[in-house]
């Protein structure tokens, strides 16, 4: 009896959700999962904000294997989800293949350019935000040595690293940037213990400001830096509040805004590349009460000047992706 009831309930719930599914927006998270404390979680935050403000519902899928990407995209497209937003460059190849089969669906891909008439590609200028973080680090450092801790050694993270090094060297040509990567498997994105160890190792080499671009691993970096009495710089979301007064700033990448905009106004989704840069505040440095005391006037002035120069076009930050090389070490 109970089994039958449960079955009936399940079937009813399934039928209901099928009805509600028409023209729901959808969000696909990459293998990191939606609670990665970083990139995917930012997308999740944006979607949740849309849900809270509009009362709407959306579909979400988390990948578990590479072979599922195509499966998930096709299934969502066939159920009529619109728009379909996906996070991460790894979807690029598959989306390029799938999008032409569903010309009536609109797709948004974050962190990758896919050239199809029904796809909007949202890319962030991480090098610009990291450049400003580099300047902040240069001004805050007493020893002249700062650290960079990445997750996996992939092009995207080198883009962060290169921008950071450029900003630091611009403000302090004689300084040193120490660079470490956490690992070579996807586990490197979620290894706070190792992140903490790397931060301590960099401190012992003289670093007194450490920039972490390593997803969940960064939590360990920020913790170790706070414990050791040195400064850290957070990434992706505003992480200033994690250790008030000990996190210099955060290089914020507004993935949440991109998801929110796509969900709220699907008709405004235009095919082509949408660049989220300093100008459109797609990337920025987080300033709030938690780091107010750390930001000296001199520092704020230097950051504002650099920001104005980059936005005005008089200063070009080199993008690692254009030639797979970085002009500074």
């Amino acid at each position: 009896m109970t089994l039958m009831t449960r079955l009936a309930c399940g079937a009813a719930a399934l039928a209901l959700s099928a009805v509600a599914a028409v023209a729901e927006p959808a969000l696909i998270f990459d293998l990191g999962g939606k609670f990665d404390k970083s990139f995917n979680e930012a997308a999740h935050t944006g979607a949740e904000r849309w849900k809270a403000e509009t009362g709407g519902t959306y579909k979400e899928l988390e990948m578990q294997s590479e072979a599922q990407r195509e499966q998930a995209l096709r299934r969502l497209a066939e159920t009529g989800a619109d728009p379909i937003v996906m996070t991460g460059f790894a979807f690029g190849d598959v989306l390029n293949k799938v999008a032409p089969d569903y010309p009536d669906n609109r797709f948004v891909i974050i962190d990758m350019v896919v050239d199809q008439p029904n796809v909007q590609s949202v890319v962030f200028t991480e090098e610009q935000g990291s450049y400003l973080a580099g300047i902040a680090a240069a001004k805050a450092s007493k020893t002249g040595t700062v650290g960079f801790i990445g997750g996996m050694d992939i092009p995207l993270i080198r883009k962060f690293q290169c921008g950071f090094a450029q900003g630091f060297k611009a403000a302090r040509p004689d300084g040193t940037v120490l660079v470490n990567y956490t690992g070579t498997t996807p586990a490197a994105w979620n290894d706070p213990v190792k992140g903490g160890e790397l931060a301590r190792a960099q401190k012992s080499q003289g670093a007194d400001v450490i920039y972490a671009a390593a997803g969940g691993t960064g939590i360990g970096v920020l913790q170790a830096a706070a414990d050791e009495g040195i400064l850290s710089i957070g990434v992706d979301s505003n992480q200033n509040h994690l250790h008030p007064g000990k996190v210099l700033t955060s290089m914020v990448k507004r993935v949440d805004n991109s998801v929110f905009e796509a969900f709220s106004n699907p008709d405004a989704i235009t095919p082509g590349v949408k660049v989220m840069d300093l100008k459109s505040e797609g990337v920025t440095l987080a300033m709030d009460d938690n780091n107010k005391a750390l930001m000296t006037d001199d520092m704020v002035k230097a950051i504002d000047e650099a920001r104005a120069a980059i936005v005005g076009g008089t200063l070009a930050v080199h993008d690692y992706m254009t030639d797979n090389a970085c002009p500074v070490e």
């Binding site: 449960r6 399940g10 195509e70 190849d93």
Partner: protein, 362 residues
């Protein structure tokens, strides 16, 4: 302990283990407030209920057949090869190099070449731990585990720095030329007029996997080398006394094992993605250990166990994708199956042994 009849050992024990694993999984699903019956239904229909589901199940199973056979061959020689993951990753590199090296005119030419490339890279990756075991006595379990990490680091370096097209964000190679695209099982079914498994990744590699099962069976039980491998695995001292050189058997068995693991790449790298991505193996090397354990290191058993794990992967994927059950729970279910079929095998055997003892069956 009472010896079980053969059928009970081979069929009944795994089935009871499976039932126990699913029963506990059902309790876990109940505990998080979901219906186990709905979950089972989603898994079965998602993995086996349509030609679409079968297309995915067979794709995953193909991976597991190769890695399962790899573990089994080494196991018969008394070696525990935990390095399937790394060997398959390097096999992927071999396949990618072969596919990108020439503008292949037809897949029938590209496939044998890619098989040689994948198997050679996988075998060479297994050679170093094998040599260290044979000549230096470094334990193969430790070295093969460590070689998984070295393989991951090597692949990362090669993909990010050497083989990635400039300007591409994805640490992956370029697409392989059109002449290397393997026919999917869909296309093969369509050729004989059957509509089967639309848009699924199962491809001709599945047939290669079946052939590999046959060849491994012939090698282990019908060849001189297989006899030597088994003799060495059962008792190294007896084998030595019979004139079987231990170093040679260790190295040859590991080369075959690594080669089989490397062969997996024709399925996931050449057949599915058509390019080499960073995360291409996705744990299939480790699943191979469970598959070999459950399949009693016999090719037929491995094929069945691989199908079971293919079902768990695809059904679990459906569960995580399209129900409210979180994806972490799928790992719990898979772990329970491995725990019961692999580690707690003897427990089940001890439980059912009295039943047979009382009946007086031998």
């Amino acid at each position: 302990m009472t010896r079980l009849p053969r059928w009970a050992d081979l069929v009944l024990t795994p089935l009871i283990s499976l039932a126990l694993a699913f029963a506990i999984s059902a309790l876990v699903i109940l505990a998080i407030g979901q219906s186990p019956w709905m979950a089972l239904k989603t898994m079965v229909t998602g993995a086996l209920g349509s030609s679409y589901g079968w297309g995915y199940t067979l794709y995953y199973a193909t991976n597991f057949v190769f890695t399962g056979l790899a573990v089994a061959v080494a196991y018969h020689a008394g070696l525990f090869n935990i390095g399937g993951e790394g060997q398959a990753a390097l096999g992927g590199l071999g396949v990618a190099l072969v596919c990108l090296a020439l503008p292949w005119p037809h897949w029938a030419l590209a496939l044998p070449a890619a098989m040689i490339g994948g198997a050679a890279f996988g075998a060479l990756w297994a050679l170093i731990p094998a040599w260290l075991q044979a000549k230096r006595g470094s334990h193969i379990v430790i070295t093969t585990i460590m070689f998984n990490f070295i393989a991951a680091a090597t692949l990362n370096y090669v993909l990010v720095n050497l083989m990635r097209p400039v300007g591409s964000m994805d640490p992956a190679t370029a697409r392989f030329p059109a002449g290397t695209v393997l026919p999917r099982l869909t296309d093969m079914a369509a050729a004989v007029g059957i509509e089967w498994g639309k848009a699924t990744p199962a491809n001709v590699s599945f047939l290669v996997a079946l052939a590999a099962c046959g060849l491994v069976w012939a090698l282990i039980w019908r060849s001189r080398l297989g006899y030597e491998i088994r003799a060495f695995g059962k008792s190294e001292r007896a084998a030595r006394y019979a004139g079987i050189p231990p170093a040679r058997i260790t190295i040859v068995a590991m080369l075959i094992s690594g080669g089989l693991a490397g062969l997996m790449a024709i399925n996931n790298v050449m057949g599915e993605s058509g390019r080499l991505v960073l995360n291409s193996v996705e744990g299939a090397g480790f699943i191979g250990i469970a598959v070999a354990l459950m399949g009693r290191n016999h090719p037929l058993g491995i094929l069945l166990a691989a199908l079971l794990f293919g079902f768990l992967y695809q059904g679990g994927g459906e569960l995580a994708l399209f129900t409210a059950i979180p994806r972490e729970l799928i790992v719990v279910i898979q772990a329970l199956v491995i725990l019961f079929t692999g580690a707690l095998d003897n427990m089940v055997r001890m439980l059912i042994a009295p039943l047979f003892a009382r009946r007086g069956t031998p």
